[in-house]
Symmetry: C2
Subunit: 214 residues, 2 copies
DNA sequence: TAGATTGTTAATCGATTAACAATC
DNA sequence: TAGATTGTTAATCGATTAACAATC
């Protein structure tokens, strides 16, 4: 039987997004069915883990056959919440922010950039993709007048907390935080951190662990 | 007693990098000691978890006082392997690659960009930061002549596997992969994936789970 | 039906937490 | 010493895995 969202383990949620990525690739290749073993091999997992994860969606597989790719895509998107469009604003039009604004992967997954903000007078008015950079001062009024779901926070660490508070106060439901600082969320706003330097540190650790397996 | 790198739980390694970031901030503020409770609050963790994690480093704390900030920084950097400089190349000089090349956080943590590669003739020869973009064809010869530790892979998904194989064959120890595709590593090369669209999907899931807590 | 693969169980493994003795 | 905080234990919690009955 399908699990409700709150019953799905967090570790499973992370992998559901990975499965979705593979499935979308399979669908582009017109693959109709996929076995748990095949998905597992592609992602470096155990087949039993894939089956357990997918069983959270309900009985979507076909015994003796595998999982129907299109059905599985729909089921995962429904659980993740990406079966609808999400309106996203970008705060911070620096190098990283500009790169993120043009990132194709966001659009492909239904995340729609609708506005860009920065506090730098030199940047305000210039264009990022097709969006004129708006003054950070107008953040609240813009959010009040537009249905915005998420914000991508790509400002310096020194500004991150203050901007995050304002986003929360304005009622943004989720923040994807690229600033290298812990941002505390109040009750209703969810914060997801992506720290690029930390990812590189994790990689470095894996390397030194492999190099001298003590 | 200190644990060897292979004995440290993976979950702990991820947090050690977070502790390091906080500690560096504390050190800039000239804080001498920090208690587990204080670190825990800053990062939204339990104090007992902080103490358990830090105990992997050996007895670096002072009972009744807390952890000496400078000593703790040194101990974490030594375990993570970031107590030395790492030479890094960037493959892929698109929007994301260019943003990553200028990312301050890498430099601050001892990761030194030394070269940039791309296969696009339009980009080859142009400058990214102070680095002229080199032809991807010269990847192997460059790596053979320079001590390179890590590669940041910021090419399209369609090119990622082929470039990753070449990096592995050339003896690169670790790859930070930003391409939205599973890259399989052979024995000696470690791959760390960062998929930005997947991070946004995880955020979306947290939001829908919070909005309708079933 | 026979063959194959899912869905699910039970066992194992690893991570988190509270509590407190050790000790600065 | 008294107060405070670490380091560590034991219990709990959650995630992974192998195995196999269910069933397409």
């Amino acid at each position: 039987m399908p699990k409700s969202r709150s019953e799905i383990p967090v570790a499973t949620v992370s992998r559901l997004a990975l499965y979705l990525r593979e499935l979308q690739q399979l669908q582009r290749g017109a693959t109709v069915h996929v076995r748990s073993q095949s998905l597992a091999e592609r992602l470096g997992l155990k087949d039993s883990q894939v089956r357990r994860d997918l069983s959270c969606l309900g009985p979507v597989g076909q015994r003796g056959v595998g999982y129907p790719v299109p059905d599985l895509i729909v089921a995962i998107e429904r659980v993740l919440g990406t079966d609808r469009a999400w309106n996203v604003i970008l705060v911070g039009a620096g190098n990283l922010g500009r790169a993120l604004s043009g990132y194709k992967g966001f659009d492909q997954q239904g995340f729609r950039l609708v506005a860009v903000f920065d506090s730098d007078p030199q940047k305000i008015g210039s264009k990022v993709e097709e969006f004129p950079v708006q003054d950070l001062d107008s953040l609240e009024s813009f959010i009040a007048n537009t249905q915005i779901d998420l914000a991508i926070l790509a400002v310096p660490a020194s500004a991150a907390r203050s901007v995050a508070s304002r986003l929360e106060a304005a009622g943004i439901a989720g923040i994807l935080n690229f600033a290298p600082i812990a941002v505390h969320s109040s009750g209703s706003t969810t914060v997801q951190d992506v720290d690029l330097a930390i990812e590189l540190q994790r990689l470095a650790f894996s390397v030194v662990r492999n190099q001298r397996p003590q």
